[in-house]
Structure formats: structure tokens, C-alpha cells
């Protein structure tokens, strides 16, 4: 019996973002269909993985997360190199030392670290501040300057600090992460504000502030699906690639942190924790996530293996 394959006729596509410099650029976005529906449209770039590097030793990471980075946890340059060895497509440097609760490091100190990391690896760099909005604006201004021309992805820019960060990105040739809390209208609004400052739309990545598996993953999932549908139907202010900070959320989950003996009915911690991070990422990949910021090297390996398979054609 003849079955007519149902194909949607989308009119537009996700914008394509280029990170890094030749010959080591990485591209994301550009899809003209829903995730992995090769039978319907083009998927020119695969979703990518990033591994986090901190500029100070994390205190609250569980042992299974620290183990793969033994000996480099207090050396961001060595840690970043290790991430590249582990197969991360890009390195995500988190400038936690800037946080007033930690070292309250100065913008110049942070910029020096960022520069050292950028010079040590040949993959593109994501640089994230400490999450305190005012401080991030100050820090990223200096970081942006120090990394001039390296075409990094910097953030997170929020409604409160986007002006400084956008200006830095424009002057020094970077792209920015625009963060808004789990609301598609706020995401769109922030993208409009940023583009009104004349930063090109394909230099913005949307961060919808995702939740992990079991902790509100469905909210970000639906926002991503709606954003992708919007993008395909021609809404340029929702057509940005989506970045998902999966590691920071997944490793907060009790199911990832609880050791083997605490909840024996949950199975072994290592396998459970890594699956928690991997499934959070691969579920967002189905909704339209493009950049997955992860923490465990095993997760990078598994997410990449899955994406390799999903990038194989399923055209009829």
C-alpha cells in the first residue's frame, strides 16, 4: 500500500553560527527542519559538545566527576588541554574565581586566565562568567578584549548586563550567549534588544536556562521545540542556535550525586550519573539544542556517539 511521506514545507531555517578561527572553526545551526529529520530538510551542522574548565578547583563536584581531571583541577590550561584530548568540540571556560564568594578575582586576572587557555588549545572557546550579573559585565569586557579576534562565544548576557557584553562582542569579534529564564517571550525580547545594538543575529546563542532530567527538563524542552518551529516558520528572533548548560544542572541532581550505597535501588552511581547527563543532553538534542556544555568526559563520548548516528540520513 502506497504511503505518501508527510513532509512539512518550512519557509526558513536556524541561523548558522561560526566559532573559532581558521582552520579550526566549528559551525552550529543552519537546520531547515526539525531535529534529525533528514527526510525533510538540511542539517548542515551537527550539534556540538563542550567540556567545562574552571579557573579554580571546584569544591562541590562528586568524586566520580573529579577523577578524570585528577592533577589538572587547579590548572585551567592543563585542564583545557585535557578536555580537547577527551574529544570536546569546544572548551567552555567558567570564570568562577570572579565570584565574590570565592576569590573575587579581578577582571584583569580573569582575562589573563582566558588568554592563557585560548592560547593553549586549538578548538574554539566558550567563556562564561561567574553568574553575578554586574561582575560578569566587568569581567567579560576585559576577557573580550584579551581574546580579540578569536571569535569566542561569551556570556551569559542577561536583561541586566547585555549592553556591556554585546558591545564587547561587537568590538572584539565574538558571539554572545543570551540568557533568559525559561520563557520564550523573554528569550525573544532579549534577542531583539541585542540585535538592536547591531550585533548580527547569527552571533547570538539562546540559553533558555535549562533544567536537568527530573528537574524541569520538560519546560526547556518545549521552549526549544517552540523556538525551532518559530525559526522554521520565519521568526528571525527565535532562529538562533540553542546552548544547553547540561553539566551544571545534571550534576546538581540527587540522582547523579547520590553514592552507590545511599539508594541501592537506583543502581551504581557512575553509570546512573553519566546517563543523567547524557540523557539530559540527548533529549534536548531532540527538541533543537545545538551546543551541549557537559562536565564528564564519558558523557562527551556517549553524546557524540549518539549524534554520529542521528546525523546518518533517514531519508526515504
Amino acid at each position: 500500500m502506497a504511503v505518501t511521506i508527510a513532509k512539512e514545507k518550512w519557509t526558513s531555517k536556524v541561523s548558522e553560527m561560526v566559532l573559532g578561527t581558521e582552520p579550526n572553526t566549528v559551525k552550529v545551526g543552519g537546520e531547515s527542519t526539525l531535529p534529525f529529520l533528514h527526510f525533510e530538510g538540511e542539517i548542515p551542522n551537527r550539534p556540538i559538545t563542550a567540556l567545562e574548565v574552571w579557573d579554580l578547583e571546584p569544591t562541590d563536584w562528586p568524586d566520580i566527576l573529579k577523577k578524570p581531571f585528577e592533577g589538572v583541577l587547579n590548572d585551567p590550561v592543563a585542564w583545557a588541554k585535557k578536555n580537547v584530548e577527551y574529544g570536546a568540540d569546544v572548551v567552555a571556560l567558567r570564570l568562577m574565581s570572579a565570584h565574590p564568594d570565592y576569590k573575587n578575582a579581578t577582571p584583569d586576572e580573569c582575562a589573563a586566565t582566558a588568554k592563557a587557555v585560548a592560547d593553549a588549545v586549538n578548538v574554539p572557546l566558550i567563556v562564561i562568567g561567574c553568574g553575578v550579573e554586574d561582575k560578569d559585565a566587568e569581567v567579560l569586557e576585559k576577557v573580550g578584549e584579551a581574546l580579540n579576534g578569536k571569535n569566542c562565544l561569551i556570556g551569559c548576557a542577561t536583561e541586566k548586563n547585555y549592553k556591556t557584553i554585546t558591545a564587547t562582542a561587537m568590538v572584539n569579534g565574538h558571539s554572545i550567549i543570551a540568557s533568559s529564564p525559561l520563557d520564550i517571550n523573554l528569550a525573544k525580547q532579549l534577542n531583539i534588544l541585542v540585535t538592536e545594538m547591531n550585533l548580527a543575529a547569527n552571533r547570538i546563542a539562546i540559553d533558555p536556562l535549562v533544567g536537568a532530567l527530573g528537574y524541569g527538563i520538560e519546560y526547556a524542552y518545549s521552549i526549544m521545540e517552540r523556538a525551532r518551529l518559530g525559526a522554521l516558520m520565519g521568526d528571525k528572533m527565535l532562529a538562533m542556535p540553542v546552548i544547553c548548560f547540561v553539566g551544571q544542572e545534571a550534576w546538581k541532581a540527587k540522582e547523579a550525586k547520590s553514592p552507590d550505597d545511599e539508594n541501592p535501588e537506583w543502581g551504581a552511581q557512575e553509570r546512573r550519573a553519566i546517563l543523567w547527563e547524557v540523557i539530559t543532553a540527548t533529549t534536548f538534542a531532540q527538541a533543537g539544542g545545538s551546543i551541549f556544555v557537559l562536565r564528564h568526559p564519558e558523557s562527551v563520548k556517549e553524546v557524540k556517539k549518539h549524534i554520529d548516528k542521528m546525523m546518518e540520513s533517514n531519508a526515504y
Partner: protein, 439 residues
């Protein structure tokens, strides 16, 4: 989606006999169109008209039931492609496979233990799939018997050999198991068996076209569809096609589906199953009973199948994080589950021993709750007075979300507790406690 009153009217006898209780056939048609009446109320309708109307008013994905009693699994009745369009109705059934060459009793006991508690709710797998991997009909029947004796979960009987299936059904047929199943070479025999026991049947095609043909040919209505694809990229495409076509009323695809997470790489098998849960699978068959593999999938299913139009709430009661004592801080928030989980997660992340009081706001968030008059000093005071927190701590201090700082004066007055205004975002809790807390 449904028919209009006039379209229905054309199929009715037009005798205005009033036997349905309505004054005219047109009035009855209007009631039908709005779902207020059922076709059964008309005793005179012709079979042809009934079939035409039934199929037009039937849901795009038929409802199919597996098993009996308390653990009966219902699948189908789906109406959307995206959960945000309305909601996904029936959560993917998780089946765990047992080979008839395994120690069936041990394996089934293990499967029975795949039960997880999440904020007071119990979640579990749904089906035991007994696989005729021996190829031997007697062994298969024995395994089915052992499985049935050791579990309350409904069974999926997996064999393409009608002779083996017949033996297995002699044992399990009365309990409405899923027959898995029919294909191009055994279709007639399997459909006969399904009809004999009135049980649901999986039909597997080599591809979508063959699947559609076999469904038509079967003439059976209690079906579960298998497009034959096993690689995750292709399963995604087929699942998407089947759901899209069902919604377009292509009748052969108007049934729930079954998928098999049989990837030889054990981690990737779990990842593939996650894709199937998100993307329309009625059933996913797993070849692992490791709780570390199943917990993430059960959690994902719970999340994806949450009704987006209905905020999910946690029970409004006193919660403890870590090992709180008389000097531990007390956080007030709302019982919207996401809000509660954010607060709980960040309190935990900061390694703070604390009490959390999620006030019952009908499951809405802090600012929405405040705006809607559901997160008020009165309600907070009521909870503080009734939950027993006063006996747990020796101090009298409440920490409220920064977004509702405006409540603090009134709350202090009503409750008699000192009110500290916490951070606006829960992520700020660890540093807030570090800087501001002393009992």
C-alpha cells in the same frame, strides 16, 4: 478534527422519530458534533452510517489496552505532535525483555523491583516481554508460565512462530497479553490467534509501506505498529511519520507503536530508548534491568508526559534537606514542583541542612502565586503554624524569596517570626546563607 453537525446529519435516518430523546435528527446531530450525545442513542442508524461516523469521530490514534486489572496498560488516544500543543496522553509503556533461555524466575523478580519513588509518587516499568529466543515452543510456554506466576505486570509474548504463540496463549491468553507478533509471513495465523483471545497484536512491516498493507489486510483493530526500523535515526523518522499520518487520518497508522532499544552498545541502548520516549513510542522494549539504566528513562517519561497546561505540585508539607537541627534555616517557597526543586537543589548544592516549607499555591510559582493572591502572608502563617516547624527549630526566623520582599512586614506581624528576605533566584541561596545566616 471531528465532523460538523450537518455532516453527521446526512448519515442519520432523518425520520425525527425522537427515540434518541432529541426532538429532531438535526438536533441529535448537533449534540453528537459537540460530544454531548453518543451514536448508541440512535437505535435506527444503519451499519454503513455507523461505520462512517465511528471512524470519523474516532481518535486519530486508537486506544489499545494490554493486560487486565490494576496493572492494565492503556496506549493511544494521542492527538498532537508536540506536547506544548496540548499534551501527550498515555505515557510510553516500558517493557523489560526476558529470554526463554534465561533463568526466567530470577529475571522477573529483578524486574518487579524496578519501582521508584519520586516525591511521594511511585513509578515503575509496565510490561514483561518474554522472548522466544530458544525457538522452541515448549520452552517458550514454560517461560511464559514462569513469568506469569512471578509478576503482576502484563506480558508481551515475543515470537513470530504461530505454533509457539498458540502454546503460550493457552497459558496466558486469558490475561490480555500483547501478541508480538505478526509479519508478512505469518499474518493470517497470528490474526486468528489474536481474534481467538481478543488480545492486542503487534504487526511488523519491513518498512512503512508493507506495514500499512499488512494492517489493511489484517482487518483487526487491536493493533500495535512496528515499522521494522531498529537504528535510532530511522526509528525517529518512522515514529514521526506514523504520528503525522495518524493525525492526518491515514487510518492504517492510527494505532500506538512499539520500539525496541536493542542497540548492542548498552549505554546507547538507553539513549535510544530516551529518544523513543520523547518521540511518540507507545512501548519501548528494553534489554536491561539495571536500575541505573531504567531510572533515567522512567524520569524522562514522567517529565515528557507531564500535562503542560497543568502545573505540577509537590505536597505542601515540611521537608528536610540534609540533617537539619534546631539552628537550621527555614526556607519558605511555593509548591510548584519546579520552584520547589530549584530551592531544594540549590540548598543541597550549598550543603546546607535546612527545612523547606512549600506553601500550597495550587502548584504555581512564587511571583504568579503572589500576583494571584495564593502566596500571601496569611497562607504562609497558616502553614508555619500547622506544619510543626516551631517544634523543630529553636529560632524564629523565616527566609522568603527575594521576589516577594513586599510580604515581609505583614508576614512578620501575623506569624510573629522574624522575616529575612532571601535572594530572588534560588541559585543565590548558598551565598546568602554564608553571608547572612545565623540562628
Amino acid at each position: 478534527m471531528g465532523l460538523t453537525g450537518l455532516e453527521i446529519f446526512k448519515q442519520l435516518p432523518k425520520t425525527n422519530c425522537k427515540d434518541c430523546g432529541q426532538p429532531t435528527c438535526l438536533a441529535f446531530a448537533m449534540q453528537l458534533a459537540s460530544g454531548k450525545a453518543s451514536l448508541d442513542q440512535c437505535p435506527h442508524i444503519s451499519d454503513a452510517a455507523r461505520e462512517a461516523l465511528d471512524s470519523a469521530s474516532a481518535p486519530p490514534v486508537a486506544l489499545v489496552k494490554i493486560g487486565k486489572g490494576e496493572k492494565e496498560l492503556q496506549l493511544g488516544n494521542e492527538t498532537v505532535l508536540f506536547r506544548h500543543d496540548k499534551r501527550f496522553e498515555h505515557p510510553t509503556g516500558i517493557a523489560i525483555a526476558v529470554n526463554d533461555t534465561d533463568a526466567v524466575s530470577d529475571k522477573v523478580q529483578q524486574i518487579n523491583k524496578l519501582v521508584f519513588d519520586r516525591v511521594g509518587q511511585v513509578h515503575n516499568v509496565n510490561l514483561v516481554a518474554v522472548v522466544n529466543s530458544s525457538g522452541d515452543a515448549g520452552k517458550f510456554a514454560d517461560a511464559v508460565k514462569t513469568a506469569q506466576d512471578n509478576t503482576d505486570f502484563p506480558l508481551v509474548l515475543v515470537s513470530e512462530d504461530p505454533a509457539a504463540m498458540e502454546k503460550a496463549l493457552e497459558i496466558a491468553g486469558a490475561n490480555n497479553p500483547l501478541i508480538c507478533g505478526a509479519n508478512a509471513s505469518n499474518l493470517e495465523a497470528m490474526v486468528e490467534l489474536a481474534k481467538k483471545y481478543d488480545a492486542p497484536l503487534v504487526i511488523k512491516g519491513a518498512n512503512l509501506e508493507e506495514l500499512a498493507s499488512l494492517v489493511e489486510k489484517s482487518g483487526y483493530k487491536k493493533l500495535i505498529l512496528d515499522s521494522g526500523a531498529r537504528e535510532v535515526n530511522k526509528v525517529l523518522a518512522d515514529q514521526t511519520q506514523i504520528r503525522r499520518q495518524a493525525l492526518k487520518r491515514f487510518r492504517p497508522f492510527g494505532y500506538p507503536t512499539i520500539t525496541f532499544a536493542d542497540n548492542p552498545d548498552p549505554i546507547q541502548a538507553v539513549v535510544d530508548a530516551g529518544v523513543y520516549i520523547a518521540k511518540y513510542a507507545g512501548i519501548v522494549v528494553m534489554y536491561t534491568d539495571n536500575p541505573a539504566d531504567i531510572l533515567p528513562l522512567i524520569t524522562l517519561r514522567l517529565n515528557i508526559y507531564t500535562d503542560p497546561q497543568k502545573p505540577i505540585a509537590v505536597e505542601s508539607k515540611l521537608y528536610e534537606v540534609g540533617n537539619p537541627g534546631p539552628d537550621s534555616p527555614v526556607f519558605v517557597t511555593t509548591n510548584f514542583s519546579l520552584t520547589y526543586f530549584c530551592v531544594q537543589g540549590d540548598v543541597e548544592a550549598g550543603r546546607i541542612d535546612a527545612y523547606i516549607l512549600p506553601v500550597d499555591t495550587d502548584g504555581i510559582s512564587v511571583l504568579t502565586g503572589w500576583a494571584a493572591g495564593k502566596f500571601t502572608p496569611e497562607k504562609i502563617t497558616e502553614m508555619v503554624n500547622n506544619c510543626g516547624i516551631a517544634d523543630k527549630v529553636s529560632h524564629r526566623k523565616l527566609i522568603i524569596p527575594g521576589g516577594v520582599a513586599v510580604l515581609s512586614g505583614k508576614l512578620q506581624e501575623l506569624s510573629g517570626w522574624e522575616v529575612l528576605v532571601g535572594p530572588r533566584e534560588s541559585a543565590g541561596i548558598p551565598s546568602f546563607i554564608k553571608q547572612r545566616w545565623s540562628a
